[in-house]
Symmetry: C2
Subunit: 163 residues, 2 copies
């Protein structure tokens, strides 16, 4: 067992005795595991709400933007709301839901990792906490506030609901 | 501007004045933005090191597993090391590098989000800190230890290196 792995507890210890078919990582990637979906979420975090802005800034065709925004809306990460500017027909904009906001650790985690390993020395924008000015990080911690490296993560089998 | 967005500071405030071509989120997704790549990293975190185990547990063909493991190795998330069992020919196993380990917040973040939104009420394995027993979470915090919601994130333009 490599020193860097998590520890699979109880019935999970025998990795051949259980299936990963329902793994939440796999299910999440089925939903948002495309570059364009992740970049559309990034844009939503930047404050983009309008279809044309999403398509242009992510650099995808209108057809791709429309398909992906529809998927993200149907999945519940965005909600579609009507708006109307004077003299124009009613259009729709896309707003973050709680489900969409809660993906922030993943998107900011990709940002942080990309800055560290893929920026090739180019200076990159820094994320700071508006209230105190210190650097923002995505971290794996426990409820007691300890930093938790992989080797200190125990994966505990789900408890079956009991009657 | 939606209340949930980050704040783009300085020259970044005019979103049409800069390109997202070098965005670290996009670069990261180019490298690891497939379901199979993310699931292979999950398997590495579970302690899987051997080709057959990766392919079987992720549920992909050997051709897909080979291609994806090669990409992850070339990109630097895994390293390939020879091993030999008695009476067998030399084979290779795949070990996590620092770059691979540092992706943990993203993979565990997908896990956490999937448990919350996509598990459909099924009980899911719990992640606990081996040392203190409390729940493990992926969070966005600042160096001062504050939780940082999106609306409190300032994105500051990169400083150009000066002579």
């Amino acid at each position: 067992m490599p020193e860097d792995a998590v520890t699979l507890q109880g019935v999970l210890a025998d990795r051949d005795a259980w299936s990963t078919a329902n793994c939440p990582v796999g299910r999440s990637m089925e939903l948002i595991g495309t570059r364009s979906a992740m970049l559309l979420m990034r844009e939503a975090y930047y404050g983009t709400t309008r279809f044309d802005d999403f398509a242009r800034r992510v650099g995808v065709t209108e057809a791709v933007a429309a398909a992906r925004l529809r998927e993200l809306t149907e999945a519940g990460l965005l909600r579609r709301e009507p708006y109307r500017e004077p003299g124009q027909r009613t259009r729709h904009e896309y707003r973050l839901t709680d489900m969409g906001r809660d993906l922030a650790p993943v998107v900011l985690g990709l940002y942080q990792w990309g800055v560290k390993y893929l920026a090739g020395g180019r200076p990159m924008p820094r994320l700071r906490h508006a209230d105190c000015g210190s650097d923002v990080h995505v971290t794996v911690t426990c409820a007691e506030g300890h930093d938790v490296p992989l080797r200190e993560v125990d994966v505990e089998p789900a408890r079956r609901p009991s009657l």
